[in-house]
């Protein structure tokens, strides 16, 4: 990491700037890490099946269900906030949508629409609590995580004495909209398309729109954002809503793929999406992050998650491995960000 930056200093100014700006891009670590992990599994476990189409489909599917939520989470992190309630929101979405389809007999479209409205409510509540109390969003959304998860389990227990709703696919019957959530595009599941589209959308919003500029400002220096007239409260609430909406999209994908709505679904997903975003270059302190980097963070997560079972190590070591990856990524990202902010004194 060190030598190219330093040797670059002696080059022409233009070349120096471009080389530096490449290295300090937030997505640099995630892309390099993804290539390294892919190479590792391809070389050591390729023969065992890591390179097979079935395996590729598997890790892309795992990555997609993380990446779909991690993209808007990245925008929220850049704005300086955090959402721990996404896993519980996935479960809430699964139960609401399965209930409407299986028990109430609704078609897929209105059931999904109603679920999205529930998500907007959850997101707005999270956002409103965070901006009104001005307490750390970590604590606020930890509370809503427990509230939502517990409510979903409790309500379902009262409804059917169980923690799952089965038979979603058969209840939906021939509804053509099912394809939107669990269809196949060539050899891959449609969730891959959602993941790519949502990542592209998040990247476009952050990098190329006025709203994106204000997301950066809100997380980079909230006082300055307020001074320049940016409505930071409204912006944060909108991002919480986007995050919750992405969580119920994953819920819809899950219930048609697994044929079941589960009140215990997506436990721990909140940490997986943050892991993807942080490997992808996002800073928990706000102001910095990249949906493209997060895309590769999620891809890396999926590869490690699935590829690990081909290694000779027992799969219980997966978390340890993941923890080291995360640690290495944040150390590198911290270094590159500091390099990006280092004053270059010549022009004083």
């Amino acid at each position: 990491m060190n030598s190219p930056v330093q040797s670059g200093r002696t080059d022409a100014p233009e070349a120096r700037v471009s080389l530096r700006s490449l290295l300090v891009r937030p997505e640099f670590t995630a892309i390099a890490g993804t290539i390294a992990v892919f190479a590792f599994f391809a070389i050591f476990t390729g023969d065992a099946g890591f390179l097979s189409m079935a395996m590729t489909r598997n890790y892309l599917e795992v990555a997609a269900t993380i990446g779909i939520i991690a993209a808007p989470i990245t925008l929220l992190l850049v704005a300086g906030e955090f959402d721990l309630s996404v896993g519980a929101t996935v479960a809430a979405g699964e139960i609401v949508m399965s209930y409407l389809i299986v028990y109430a007999g609704w078609p897929v479209a209105p059931a999904f629409l109603a679920t999205v409205i529930v998500a907007i409510g959850i997101g707005a509540l999270n956002g409103y609590l965070v901006v009104k109390t001005k307490l750390p969003s970590f604590i606020i959304t930890l509370a809503t995580l427990f509230i939502i998860r517990g409510a979903v389990q409790g309500i379902l227990r009262m409804l059917n004495g169980n923690s799952v709703i089965d038979g979603v696919r058969s209840a939906a019957g021939e509804d053509p909209l099912v394809w939107l959530f669990s269809g196949m595009v060539g050899p891959f599941s449609v969730s891959l398309i959602w993941w790519i589209v949502i990542t592209g959308l998040a990247a476009w919003v952050l990098e190329s729109t006025v709203f994106g500029n204000r997301i950066f400002a809100t997380g980079g220096n909230q006082a300055a954002a307020v001074r320049t007239g940016i409505q930071v409260d409204r912006l944060k609430i909108m991002l919480y809503i986007a995050v919750a909406a992405s969580a119920v999209l994953v819920a819809a994908i899950n219930i048609f793929t697994i044929n079941q709505g589960n009140a215990n679904s997506a436990v721990g997903r909140e940490f997986e999406v943050v892991t993807a975003a942080v490997i992808g270059g996002a800073l928990l302190t706000g102001g910095y992050g990249s949906p493209i980097g997060t895309f590769f963070g999620a891809l890396l997560f999926g590869m490690v998650d699935q590829g690990f079972f081909f290694t000779p190590l027992p799969d219980v070591w997966f978390l340890t491995f993941l923890g080291f990856m995360l640690l290495i990524a944040v150390v590198i990202n911290n270094y590159t960000r500091n390099a990006a902010l280092k004053p270059r004194g010549s022009s004083q």
């Binding site: 190329s208 950066f216 980079g220 954002a225 320049t228």
Partner: protein, 258 residues
């Protein structure tokens, strides 16, 4: 000095509980004039600029812009009337590029409907030209603003306020954290802004900087106004003594007090 003041605060007071942070203070700034607001810590300088910039409202007295009484509801409201304040924290985001900071909160956009986007090309070009026009040397506006020197950052903030049509520029201690060379650079930008017809209120406790650039001095001491003096009536030494609250052997500037 015959022009009508663009911004004036007349007889303003501000109380916090029973404590008078500011009592019966009057300050005026005309187009193309630099007014220096001086005072030691706790003199009420910050309170006064918060009143002038719309952060807080006076308990007594009036604020007028172009002769019309105003009740600013927010800093943005004041900004709309041409009163731009560059606070000490500069309202910049260190990690964001210079051009994104330059247009923060007032981003130019292009495109149609849902595809409306931040016009980066225009923002980069406009920021570059505006800074060059003001004589601010920044070799790449796509760099994070945090990589610039303190003086450069201060200069960018001044250029931004001027670009967005400031008629009065309020600068809160722009040179307090800077070295000699950097301070000179910032004062030079203040002079340029003045020459283009902008009225400047410069807050400082550096008497040398004040004496170098100001036409008029308003001195505050413990929330009260010791007076407003024209540069010709006052030596640098007298100004220094005034700041410390020593009124003896200084001219009593009754002509300027209202």
């Amino acid at each position: 000095m015959t022009a009508q003041p663009y911004l004036e605060a007349v007889g303003v007071s501000k109380y916090y509980d029973n404590f008078a942070a500011l009592q019966d203070v009057t300050i005026r700034v005309r187009p193309g004039e630099v007014v220096c607001l001086l005072g030691d810590n706790g003199a009420g300088k910050s309170t006064l600029i918060q009143l002038l910039s719309g952060v807080i409202r006076p308990d007594k007295g009036v604020i007028r812009v172009n002769g019309e009484e105003q009740h600013f509801s927010s800093p943005n409201d004041a900004l709309d009337k041409g009163i731009a304040t560059v606070f000490q924290d500069l309202a910049v985001v260190p990690i964001m590029p210079v051009y994104r900071n330059f247009f923060l909160g007032r981003e130019p956009s292009t495109g149609w409907g849902p595809f409306r986007r931040f016009d980066k090309r225009h923002a980069i070009r406009a920021a570059r030209e505006e800074l060059r026009g003001m004589g601010v040397k920044v070799d790449d506006v796509r760099r994070p603003i945090g990589t610039l020197s303190g003086g450069q950052r201060q200069s960018v903030a001044v250029a931004r306020a001027v670009h967005f049509g400031a008629k009065v520029l309020i600068l809160d201690e722009p040179t307090s954290a800077l070295g000699v060379k950097q301070s000179d650079m910032v004062l030079e930008h203040v002079a340029r802004a003045r020459d283009s017809g902008i009225g400047v209120i410069l807050i400082t406790h550096n008497v040398q900087h004040a004496y170098l650039i100001a036409d008029t001095f308003t001195v505050l001491f413990l929330g009260r106004q010791l007076g407003t003096f024209s540069k010709s009536d006052l030596t640098e030494l007298q100004l220094m003594k005034l700041m410390a609250g020593k009124l003896e052997d200084t001219p009593v500037a009754t002509a300027f007090q209202s």
